[in-house]
């Protein structure tokens, strides 16, 4: 079975919500929607206090290159335009909506009927993706349309769809593959058309045999979509690792996937693209896995953007006793939530409640020189060396050791028997190197 070439770990899968079908989360009475929910320049707000908005209405416009539109996920009145606390505790510009009923904007098809025929051409599709504010749902929230504006002199050979879901606990992609396979694959077909490629490769890990079977059967009705089972190994879902696993091509250091003729998107993004292009529906809701070993009712929920995280937790039986960390995302790459009243955003794909015992860090002891971090690093880096440079504040040395190539998958930290905070130190190095590079560029 195919997989990536070096490193990787296999953490306990803990896919506890595999069998719970997607449930629609009730609309909250009051919601907070962040103006910018993507990576890049901030969007410009176009509504005012007191305005009535309908579900799907544009509220913030993308006016710069790397930027995405934001739409209202609710029907109601805007009561306040202010800042709101996001889950890290920092304040960001947001609008507060008093939710009334759920009236979709005209032109949006909110039915479940499947629209198969793709009427738009390549440029129109990209324009539509941009208009509907689609961002990468794999976690980084990078505006999707930018990936499809291929720079001159480059040519794409493959569209690669990430349906790996290699993070433990997460099951949102698994559920949509099982329940909405056709929508996903139409989405893939649309992206294929946008990119003008013959072939789309969908990578799925072998721990989801039923999803693979279901997708393969559905894919028979499509042309040029190949479902490829991959060996279960983390971080298969990382862009560069997935490209290698599926095509045996290696993205050079510091370059983008288009360098080797690939464009990578998540299966969830493909589904969002289907809704955007075929049904005119902007990205205002996503599938969220609420999970954790002690959670009373573990669920996969269809949640509108802007729902308070606390209300989702309450819906599933409240915070269990002895919860040590609430994490947005999976246990490997997710971020700890420090503010539970914060609303969800476009990319909140999971909320993980971990017990104190499960989530606390190991005691830090001296490095044993065992080399485990080196052998598991999927980028072939030497995390311990970068960490040592970081401890001694030698940022230029860290740069020479290719710290910037780190994909922050956390394998080194996961495997270190001495509990050394390797990833933390590499991230610090990356931050300093970024600063040094900006200074260099100015000179």
């Amino acid at each position: 079975m195919k997989t990536f070439n070096r490193g990787g770990v296999h953490p306990q899968e803990n896919k506890l919500t595999n069998d719970s079908t997607i449930e629609v989360f009730p609309l909250p009475k009051q919601a907070v929607v962040f103006v910018s929910q993507h990576l890049g320049a901030p969007s410009t707000l176009i509504v005012q206090k007191g305005d009535k908005v309908k579900t799907g209405q544009l509220i913030a416009k993308a006016e710069q290159f790397i930027c995405a539109n934001t739409h209202s996920p609710y029907t109601g009145t805007i009561t306040k335009i202010d800042v709101a606390t996001d889950f890290t505790g920092y304040k960001k510009p947001a609008i507060y909506i008093d939710v009334e009923e759920d009236e979709w904007l005209e032109g949006i098809d909110s039915s479940t009927e499947i629209v198969r025929e793709i009427k738009l051409d390549s440029n129109q599709i990209i324009e539509k993706i941009k208009e509907m504010g689609i961002v990468g749902l794999g976690g980084a929230a990078f505006p999707t349309h930018i990936k499809y504006m291929i720079p001159q002199g480059k040519k794409a050979d493959y569209l690669i769809i990430n349906a790996v879901e290699c993070e433990p606990y997460l099951t949102s992609d698994y559920r949509i593959m099982n329940e909405r396979a056709e929508e996903c694959l139409i989405g893939v077909e649309i992206l294929k058309k946008a990119l003008n490629v013959e072939k789309a490769l969908v990578g799925v890990e072998s721990n989801k045999p039923d999803a693979i079977e279901h997708l393969t059967n559905t894919a028979k009705r499509f042309e040029g979509i190949e479902i490829i089972p991959l060996k279960t190994k983390y971080p298969q879902g990382a862009e560069k690792q997935l490209i290698y696993a599926l095509t045996k091509r290696e993205v050079p250091s510091g370059k983008l996937p288009i360098e080797v003729g690939c464009v990578v998107n998540n299966i969830g993004t493909a589904q969002a693209v289907y809704y955007a292009v075929q049904k005119n529906m902007p990205l205002i809701q996503n599938i969220l896995t609420l999970t954790g070993k002690n959670v009373k009712q573990k669920k996969n929920l269809l949640v509108r953007v802007g729902t308070p995280i606390q209300s989702v937790i309450d819906y599933c039986g409240g915070l269990p006793e002895g919860t040590g960390k609430v994490i947005s995302g999976g246990p490997m790459m997710g971020k700890a939530i420090s503010e539970l009243s914060a609303p969800t955003v476009k990319t909140t794909s999971a909320i993980l409640l971990m017990s104190n015992k499960e989530s606390s860090r190991k005691e830090v002891t001296n490095c044993l020189r065992c080399g485990k971090c080196v052998s598991v690093c999927p980028m072939g880096l030497e995390p311990i060396q970068i960490a040592q440079f970081a401890e001694n504040r030698l940022w230029e040395e860290a740069e020479k050791t290719l710290a910037m190539d780190c994909i922050e998958c956390g394998c080194c930290l996961f495997t270190c028997p001495a509990g050394r905070p390797l990833l933390d130190l590499v991230r610090i190095s990356k931050n300093h190197i970024g600063e040094i590079r900006r200074q260099r560029a100015q000179k």
Binding site: T88, Y90, A336, E339, S360, R393, D424, I428
Partner: protein, 287 residues
């Protein structure tokens, strides 16, 4: 016997030839260095802290020798004495400067904020700053993980265990500015040391609206503007819900300190107020 003589002769000859070659090579590749660089470098503290903005003491010495005036070139560590010595060597004029000190503009810490979450990552301010606002919820306040302590070459900063905030040792601080650069939240500032080391400053950098700031911290500046109004010397400005005292204009009258409703303005090294002593004495007598 002859072996010894020959050996000595060969060695002497080789040494002679080598000496001649070395002499010519040395002449050819001679580097003419201004002897004053060594003299100046000797006067500098040699800590290579980078406080002057150059990569070390020798780099500063080289720049000084090549410069026509000492304007903008000085060693914050050595202070006036060092720069006067250097000026003497070069025969240049130098104006006196006001001594400065690093000031930590946050008084939150463990005593004035309530921790809502616990941070368990690596003990590095930058890393914590990238991942969360702070344990107490203030997005601008001191994280207390000691990046400033780590970069101080003079052991002038320590983290106070009780409050979790950095304390600057007035004797040891040489105002090199390393901690100012190391703080990811720009909390530390270089301010004039002041007459008799007395200083008045706003010990807060929170730019949130008053209510939000006060919710997370008992001693936050809420940007109410009372200090701005009471100041007779136009030294206080409110910007982004935050007061800032311009130390070049401040006359240390301390009216703002009494006026501040949250106690965000601190006075340092002033003798205790007379009324306060009287009240305390009265209390003591009553007890």
């Amino acid at each position: 016997m002859s072996i010894i003589i020959y050996s000595i002769l060969v060695l002497v000859l080789t040494a002679g030839i080598a000496a001649v070659i070395l002499y010519f090579v040395a002449q050819k590749f001679k580097v003419i260095e201004d002897p004053r660089i060594d003299l100046i470098a000797e006067k500098l503290p040699g800590a290579n802290c980078g406080g002057c903005g150059y990569t070390g003491c020798r780099a500063l010495a080289e720049t000084i020798v090549n410069a026509s005036s000492l304007e903008g070139l000085r060693c914050p560590v050595g202070g006036d004495k060092t720069i006067n010595d250097i000026a003497e060597i070069l025969g240049l004029e130098v104006s006196a400067s006001t001594p400065q000190i690093a000031v930590v503009r946050c008084n939150g810490g463990k005593l004035n904020t309530t921790a809502k979450v616990q941070y368990d990552g690596v003990q590095d301010c930058l890393y914590a700053h990238l991942n969360m606002s702070s344990e107490g919820g203030c997005p601008n306040g001191c994280l207390g993980l000691g990046n400033c302590v780590g970069v101080c070459a003079f052991d002038a900063i320590i983290i106070d265990k009780e409050s979790g905030l950095p304390i600057v040792d007035e004797e040891k601080c040489v105002s090199c500015g390393a901690c100012v650069k190391a703080c990811p939240r720009k909390i530390i500032e270089l301010r004039n040391k002041g007459i008799k080391n007395r200083r008045v400053f706003v010990s807060c950098v929170n730019t949130e609206k008053g209510g939000l700031a006060k919710k997370n911290c008992n001693v936050a500046c809420i940007g109410c503007g009372k200090c701005e109004k009471v100041c007779e010397f136009d030294a206080i400005k409110i910007e982004n819900n935050l007061a800032y005292i311009d130390f070049t204009k401040c006359k240390l009258c301390r009216k703002c300190v009494t006026e501040c409703p949250t106690g965000a303005i601190l006075e340092i090294n002033f003798p205790p107020k007379k009324e306060k002593i009287a009240v305390e004495q009265a209390e003591a007598i009553q007890n």
